[in-house]
């Protein structure tokens, strides 16, 4: 899921204060904490109050979209409303904001949130935690299931570094666990320190360089297809 944090109301209002009719769109996709119809309504009311305090009138409608990052879903859900509004405020993650701006290119969609990271919900520790950085070159098979990209502040492939003290990381004041000590403990537990000892060469950062696209297959065949030439 994409972990988000709502922006300060001042910042959101500043983006839309020149408009008199706004559409506030929640997202029912993977965005966490949930930003659905009720959150959209509350945000709209707060913006209305803010406008009133400045002697302005703000008309709004709050809706929610199953997934703003899916072009077909977003287009069919939002299209009926856009003619009547000057701007859209979206409560989705950045993916939804960009997609909405792409689909509806005659109206600006503004972000009400900061997208923080792709995260997991760890109820035992009461956190949303970044366990994967979507780096495109998964090492979890050789690290005992602990990600050294997301878990290590220095993204080390051959850790730990000298900044670890009794299994805690120098970044964050020795409160977060050192991913590489954790990797060591996991591999030792399964008698697989051979994986720890092995040198991992420099990574291929082309897999982690924006913008990234993956072609969605439209069809499959067992016939030989001509290969695309790389320039």
């Amino acid at each position: 899921m994409i972990i988000t944090q709502q922006k300060n109301i001042e910042e959101i209002y500043d983006m839309v204060k020149q408009y008199s009719k706004i559409l506030v769109a929640g997202c029912d996709g993977c965005c966490q904490p949930p930003r659905s119809i009720n959150e959209a309504k509350v945000l709209a009311q707060m913006l209305e109050l803010k406008a009133r305090s400045e002697g302005k009138e703000l008309k709004w409608k709050a809706i929610t979209v199953l997934r703003q990052c899916d072009d077909r879903i977003a287009a069919t859900t939002v299209r009926p409303f856009i003619e009547q509004y000057d701007a859209i405020v979206s409560l989705s993650c950045g993916l939804g904001i960009v997609m909405m701006n792409r689909i509806f290119d005659n109206i600006l969609t503004f972000p009400a949130q900061n997208s923080m990271f792709g995260g997991a919900e760890n109820n035992a520790e009461n956190t949303f935690a970044e366990y994967c950085e979507t780096c495109g070159e998964c090492l979890l098979g050789v690290t005992g299931g602990v990600c050294p990209m997301a878990g290590c502040a220095k993204n080390l492939s051959n850790g730990p570094c000298g900044g670890t003290v009794t299994g805690k990381c120098e970044v964050g004041g020795y409160t977060h666990e050192c991913a590489w000590v954790k990797i060591y403990e996991r591999l030792k537990k399964f008698n697989r320190l051979d994986l720890f000892t092995k040198y991992r060469p420099p990574r291929n950062y082309r897999n982690w360089s924006s913008p990234r696209f993956i072609e969605i297959n439209k069809s499959y065949t067992n016939e030989e297809e001509p290969k695309k030439e790389e320039k």
Binding site: A153, K154, N155, L156, S157, N158, G159, P160, C161, G162, G163, T164, V165, T166, G167, K168, E170, V171, Y174, W180, V181, Y184, K188, L193, F196, T197, K198, Y199, P201, P202, Y205
Partner: protein, 312 residues
């Protein structure tokens, strides 16, 4: 791997099994390097310091680069340097380019480090790089030295560079095993020597040195003579995993109180405390371990070198 030639005087001396000393210079946010050159001259004068490390943005702070001071110390003072290079601020392209540049300037020792995270430094919002880690930096230097190429195998015009590369190791590490395994990795990809972090515990240090023996690479044990009580206090409070022994801390505190007004006497007392602590420490290391020497991190405390090292 087979030992590569000793390109630096440091590695030559290590391989002659002479017990040696290295010092440390720390360029800060400065354009005038006269204090660095002065420290280097004082080290050179003792005749006991084989080479001096030049730090690369310690604690993640934005400081004068290490390459230029290395060059000037070698050129103007005639003291060999150990060029510290972290992977925090440069990607593999910049690291490669700088190493080529340093090699042209005659730098023959490189200490490959990860580097304290930028979030700890004085430009906390900086984007840390870490394209390579310190082991991969050793791999890069090895390729430049042994094969005359970059990491992709692209050849360097004019062939191989001449440089020896070292790595760090932490005697205060806990747990210890991953640290030892990591050092093993670094030796495997080509580290010629090891310099350790500071140690105040003789038993710990000896045990750690014993564990490093299996790699058959010269090791310089890091020691940190303490210039004043404030530094000792800061060390104890802010550097987790390392603690200044209570007796040493108390002695420094007493010296501070006793000679509050008399700087000269205070300095003499502090120097004596350091000599009383570190001279037997060094003798014990020299006598009972296979360490190649001591890396003495007496930054801005060059006056101690002469009295501390006179019996070595």
């Amino acid at each position: 791997m087979a030992k590569r030639p000793a390109y630096s005087n440091l590695v030559k001396t290590m391989r002659e099994s002479k017990f040696l000393f290295t010092g440390e210079l720390e360029p800060k946010k400065m354009v005038d390097l006269s204090s660095i050159l002065h420290s280097a001259e004082e080290m050179k004068k003792t005749g006991k310091i084989t080479a001096a490390n030049v730090t690369d943005g310690p604690q993640g702070d934005a400081y004068t680069c290490s390459m230029v001071p290395c060059h000037l110390v070698q050129e103007k003072v005639g003291l060999e340097t150990i060029w510290q290079m972290t992977v925090r601020d440069r990607n593999r392209i910049a690291l490669f380019g700088d190493i080529l540049g340093g090699s042209i300037l005659g730098l023959r020792n490189l200490l490959a480090l990860t580097g304290d995270h930028s979030a700890l430094g004085d430009n906390k919002n900086a984007r840390p790089v870490y394209d390579l880690d310190s082991t991969q930096l050793i791999d890069l230097v090895s390729k430049m030295v042994d094969d005359g190429t970059d990491l992709e195998g692209n050849e360097i015009e004019g062939g191989k560079i001449e440089m020896n590369v070292g790595c760090a190791a932490n005697p205060n590490s806990n747990p210890r095993e991953p640290e030892i395994l990591k050092v093993g990795r670094k030796v495997e990809v080509g580290a010629d020597f090891i310099q350790t972090q500071t140690s105040f515990d003789i038993d710990d240090a000896k045990e750690f040195l014993k564990e490093l023996e299996k790699f058959n690479v010269p090791v310089l044990l890091g020691l940190f003579p303490i210039k004043n009580y404030g530094i000792a206090w800061y060390f104890n409070e802010n550097i987790p995993g390392v603690s200044v022994p209570k007796d040493l801390l108390a002695a420094l505190k007493t010296a501070k109180k006793q000679y509050k007004e008399d700087k000269k006497k205070r300095n003499e007392a502090i120097d004596k405390i350091n000599i009383d602590f570190f001279e037997p420490f060094i003798k014990e290391i020299q006598k009972t371990t296979k360490a190649a020497g001591i890396h003495c991190m007496a930054v801005h405390y060059e006056r101690l070198f002469e009295p501390l090292l006179k019996n070595f």
